[in-house]
Symmetry: C2
Subunit: 504 residues, 2 copies
Amino acid sequence: MSQLYDSTFFKTTKLFELTDRIFLLSCGATMLSFDAVTGAPKGGSAVRGRAEAYIAAEAFKIAVSDEMRAAIEELEALENLDAITAAAVRQARREYDSRCKIPVHIMREFSELTTEANHVWEDAKVANDFKAFAPYLARIIDYNKTFIDYRGYTGVPYNTLLDDYELGMTTDKLDIFFGTLKNTIVPLLKRITEAEQIDDSFVTRYVPKDKQKAISELLMNKLGYDRNRGQLRESAHPFTTGFGSAETRITTHYYDQSFFYSMYSVIHETGHALYELGKMPEIASTMLDDGVSMGVHESQSRFYENVIGRSRAFWELIYDELIAILGDEWKGIPVESFYRAANKAEPSFIRTEADELTYSLHIMVRYEIEKAIFAGGVSVDELPELWNAKYKEYLGITPPTDTVGVLQDTHWSGGSFGYFPSYSLGNAYAAQILNTMNKEIDLEALIRADKISEITTWLGEKIHKFGKIKPPAQLFTDFTGEDLNAEHYVKYLNNKFEGLYNLK
Amino acid sequence: MSQLYDSTFFKTTKLFELTDRIFLLSCGATMLSFDAVTGAPKGGSAVRGRAEAYIAAEAFKIAVSDEMRAAIEELEALENLDAITAAAVRQARREYDSRCKIPVHIMREFSELTTEANHVWEDAKVANDFKAFAPYLARIIDYNKTFIDYRGYTGVPYNTLLDDYELGMTTDKLDIFFGTLKNTIVPLLKRITEAEQIDDSFVTRYVPKDKQKAISELLMNKLGYDRNRGQLRESAHPFTTGFGSAETRITTHYYDQSFFYSMYSVIHETGHALYELGKMPEIASTMLDDGVSMGVHESQSRFYENVIGRSRAFWELIYDELIAILGDEWKGIPVESFYRAANKAEPSFIRTEADELTYSLHIMVRYEIEKAIFAGGVSVDELPELWNAKYKEYLGITPPTDTVGVLQDTHWSGGSFGYFPSYSLGNAYAAQILNTMNKEIDLEALIRADKISEITTWLGEKIHKFGKIKPPAQLFTDFTGEDLNAEHYVKYLNNKFEGLYNLK
């Protein structure tokens, strides 16, 4: 199979040489950035931050150089390129254009603005003061509109931003997608809130850090995370980073009274890491040694977190060892209670703490607002009210403050629009993957038999190994027979939550 | 005082701009290198190593560029430079010449040779097979002779290598220096071996890692190591690294049955870190934000390790808290026993495990052998025999194998000759510092009063703050009234060990 993918020619090209230099510089920047959030002393942060910015800027210089343009054009002029070189050229062109179409001084202004805006947003969030943040948000939106002017768009302006995170994504596709989700999840959630609730009171019991760390080890072992090419560290917010298939690390955070938090963040980030580590050797350390899109990356983390990690089979797999770590006082809680607690669904204000069912509703609110912003249909001042109205409509609750409402996410203050839908796409892709997987292997049986690595091998053959070689739509069409289809996701949700809440 | 040192002009120069770029790139390389030995997964080491080498090579390109030469020449042409700019130009010229006088292809050959030689040496050491390593060592020596040919020398060829680690050091000075040491230490050690021995049997008692870590914290607190600009991590071999006065980190290694090992390595590395962190703000993050020489750096680590850390006053200071950490079963060991055990002197084969008294004898063996090599007076094949003869003569013991003899150190396989004397210079400088310090402040009283920070402040004013502004000889002459003088060191040793072993 891998014979189809040969990187011999690509490695002789100027494009490879230039992108390799970018990669090596990026490794230095990545390491400085990883170190900064995994326990570095505060005192040196200014110097280390300056070094990280300088090294990243050196990489950027290569990325926007005339040499790079020439290297891309040289390959674009050739016919019958092999699959790896062709994918690399496509990707390089995409990145070059997105970097070069906007004048450097405007990018610098924007970067300074978002740095400042991020500080203002942090304070505004604490103070529940949307008005303080509003003028910054308005300027960030204006800059994004300017970027779209420079870059052009197909259909509606917002599409250009969506495409940055998910190649080929449009509001037309997302309207259908979220429409399908809305029609299922909103009524399903209503039925759940009226049903008998799941008792998950034990999940806030005190679990000391050393026990939670032992649980992390157990989970990484069960999932088959190769600790020779990765490791778990601690940071304020969990994330995945590294050097592609050569090495990918993850982090988590431990809260004494929320051991589910570290459990599910470890599983989630391990999902990201398994994707990174599963790529074919032909593309190792090249520009294709990366996830193909935000949405597909999120599909892998969510697959491990929700489809595997929140399954009854997984809870049965880990139960005995988990209890051995937690201690005798946990023996009275049956495995079914853990399974049900891990799947409890209820309306809530904070996206990052939302359950599997309601998560996409939080995203839908953001998608609809972003779409309206870039269609010119809403002003910044109206956002809090619009936000709260949508939470009321979809989740049935009204945020008591902007702190837990429109001010909760960091994305907008950092300048990112078009990013949020990736999260929901990830969930939907995961269900679509499951639908195909069920025809070929027995997921539940493999989990029960402690053979999750065979599931990973399957995902590796269909998704992981390709890195950025195939665009998302082609990747999914090739193995599921169709492009993104939200029907699998809503079926999965209906089936799972009707069972959990005895709604049938 | 600091008004004398103004970096305003220097920061406007091209030399500053170029060296700042080198500094920022080096931060990336430093971070990759630090990460690699403090717990990184093995799988990614090839990629991370390639990134580190690339980033270091980018820094090297700037260092040997025509731009750099022009920037140095431009400042050399100016008169009445301020002290900071003058020191920077001197240092830049020194570094530029040492890098540019040798053709790049020869440096590359040498680098490849030492990489291979290091692997061969590792195996040869394990196998006690000097013959396997000998041809590599011979070639490394030949390269060093070639380097001296390119760079020239004053007096004898070996002086050029000595000067790399200690500006202005020569065999003339070192012959006097080691002659003084030999005349004192060899007979003193002989009297000690004939005296009643110190009982240190308790130092191999099992002490679990968490207790040793608590001891590390205690020691760093007592020494005043600012953990906002530094931190302790773990590695196979202890070392100090970082980003100058902005942030300097240390490492140690924990052995279950040798808690003195982590104790004294933490104190030693903290000494290095306090030097790095104590520099004046005017030179922060510049090319002068570094220790002035290997010998002076070692004088600081040894001052904290031996003069402070092995004093009776220090043991009295930490005793109660140490016992509280170690546990009740240690209460029977009086503070005097700890003090004496920490100062036990006896002949041994391994330099890195040698005590304060015999350490310089190990160095003397290496100095005399290196001197003979570069004077053409000894062939590689003769080294094991020569090594063993000198150990017999100075330490009274004959290494049973080359593994614990001539093969023990990594320095030669890495291509470093002229480095070893720095260790002994550090010890001698430390005693010379103490001699002056005793005239101005009461070291012992300050330790007992838990005011070691006042000792650090004193060292800061005399040494730390200057970084690389003053060459070692000037630095010491300015505050001790004389250049390196071994008399203070031998007096210190005689006094201390005659007391410890009741030899008077």
